[in-house]
């Protein structure tokens, strides 16, 4: 055991290094950045969604701050995320090739999310009913992109 463990660890490390070598540094950075960006959407959606679903008490300040951040993130230019060769043919990626082959369609749903989150940010601090009403379209805007442009998990 003592002898094999370092060997197995070394093997795993070199395998990982080999996988990582398949990507250029630019591809690797773009993938990491956009997945972090998606993760942050989830981070700011969580308190908003938990309030909308009556799982935590409504807090106007928390809701307004989260919704503002979400809207800011959705509004920024994201074109640098979509480096060629980083679609779901890679183990690490679930981005469908259609993002590259249908950029207009992708940009349209991306704008849909920017619009829905901006509308949410305008009212998120105005009470739970206003939050709930504006939160639904945000959810639909997530699906509008995930439906055509995200592959299922492996």
């Amino acid at each position: 055991m003592r002898r094999t463990t370092p060997f197995v660890v070394a093997l795993c490390l070199s395998a990982t290094a080999l996988l990582a070598q398949d990507l250029t540094e630019e591809q690797d950075r773009a993938l990491t950045a956009r997945q972090a960006h998606m993760g942050l959407y989830g981070f700011y959606l969580t308190p908003l969604g938990q309030m909308a679903q009556d799982r935590i008490p409504y807090d106007a300040d928390v809701a307004a701050a989260a919704a503002n951040n979400l809207a800011a993130m959705a509004a920024i230019d994201q074109s640098a995320f979509w480096v060629e060769g980083t679609d779901s043919s890679l183990e690490r990626s679930r981005a469908r090739a259609e993002i590259w082959t249908d950029p207009d369609g992708y940009l349209e749903v991306k704008q849909g999310m920017a619009d829905a989150t901006e509308a949410l940010a305008l009212v998120a601090g105005d009470g739970l009913d206003a939050l709930k009403a504006a939160f639904g379209p945000v959810g639909q805007s997530c699906s509008a992109c995930h439906q055509p442009y995200r592959a299922p998990a492996n």
Binding site: G42, L45, T46, G49, Q53, S88, R94, R96, G136, G139, Q140, C142, S143, H146, Q147, R150, A151, P152, A153, N154
Partner: protein, 288 residues
């Protein structure tokens, strides 16, 4: 080599007998006797059965069942037909019994087998009243004149008669799960029959029959990339409330959102009542 003529003879006789034993069997003529469809209740059944997920036009509204979406599989590409109320290009000219036979037995009005890409394999378990309601609702939806497109299947899958054998093997109307409470009973109707969840979430054998011993434990994605997830308790640890919420809003407990085909499914489950979504969740929570 001298054995070949014998084998051909056996094949011819066997195929003939097999064809006779496996010819299309529609619903009995009396199946809808004394049953009147309720279009309003049928709207719920329509959503629960997800008809529009496959039969609406690509990017079209959910109530225009013009067909035209294509579905890749190991057997070829299926193209959903027009099932709108148009009497020529849709199904508006069919009788209720013809429609019910198509939905619950996979048999066309002229007596041909349908491919099980159409989930009559699940709808066979539905209550006839629910299907009568569904048909009444479908008759209220708009007509569309888009002609149906033929499927694109390779040999031997393009021979519909071969489906008789497939049906004899895999078309079953018995439930997979026990349902000891009214909620589980409703959940079972929604999951096993109308919602036809197993068609994607349960793995299939080489002939395309569902593997009931691995019920809802996930499967390769028939359209290519990724896997359809395991939604038995071993794979899905969400609470019943969280499952019901996902079926309403598309958000997971950590506020990721549904994608792919499931986003389409949620366009329909979001139209169900809270009680129905909780019944689906209750069913999933008691799976082995």
């Amino acid at each position: 080599m001298p054995r070949w003529p014998w084998i051909v003879g056996v094949l011819v006789v066997g195929t003939g007998a097999g064809w006779f034993a496996t010819k299309p069997t529609p619903l009995p003529a009396s199946a809808l006797e004394g049953i009147t469809g309720d279009a309003e209740r049928g709207a719920i059944t329509f959503a629960a059965a997800g008809c529009a997920s496959c039969h609406n036009a690509p990017d079209g509204p959910l109530d225009v069942l013009a067909g035209g979406k294509s579905f890749a599989s190991d057997f070829g590409t299926f193209i959903a037909p027009n099932i709108s109320s148009d009497p020529v290009h849709g199904v508006g000219g069919w009788t209720d019994l013809e429609l019910a036979s198509a939905i619950m037995r996979g048999v066309s009005p002229d007596g041909a087998h349908y491919y099980p890409a159409f989930p009559y394999t699940s709808y066979i378990k539905a209550d006839v009243q629910d299907i009568a309601d569904l048909i009444a609702h479908m008759r209220t939806l708009p007509a569309d004149t888009t002609p149906s497109q033929p499927h694109d299947l390779g040999f031997p899958f393009n021979i519909r008669a071969s489906l008789g054998v497939w049906k004899a093997l895999y078309l079953r109307d018995d439930w997979v799960m026990d349902a000891p409470t009214p909620e589980l009973e409703r959940g079972r109707v929604l999951v096993e029959a109308l919602g036809h969840c197993a068609e994607c979430h349960t793995p299939r054998n080489a002939l395309g029959g569902l593997d009931r011993s691995a019920w809802m434990t996930g499967a390769p994605n028939p359209s290519g990339d990724g896997r359809i997830p395991n939604i038995s308790p071993a794979g899905l640890t969400w609470s019943a409330q969280e499952i019901a919420e996902y079926l309403n809003s598309g958000f997971t407990p950590t506020f990721d959102s549904a994608g792919g085909t499931m986003a389409d499914v949620i366009r329909h489950t979001s139209q169900l009542s809270d009680a129905d979504r909780m019944a689906i969740a209750a069913y999933l929570k008691v799976l082995p």
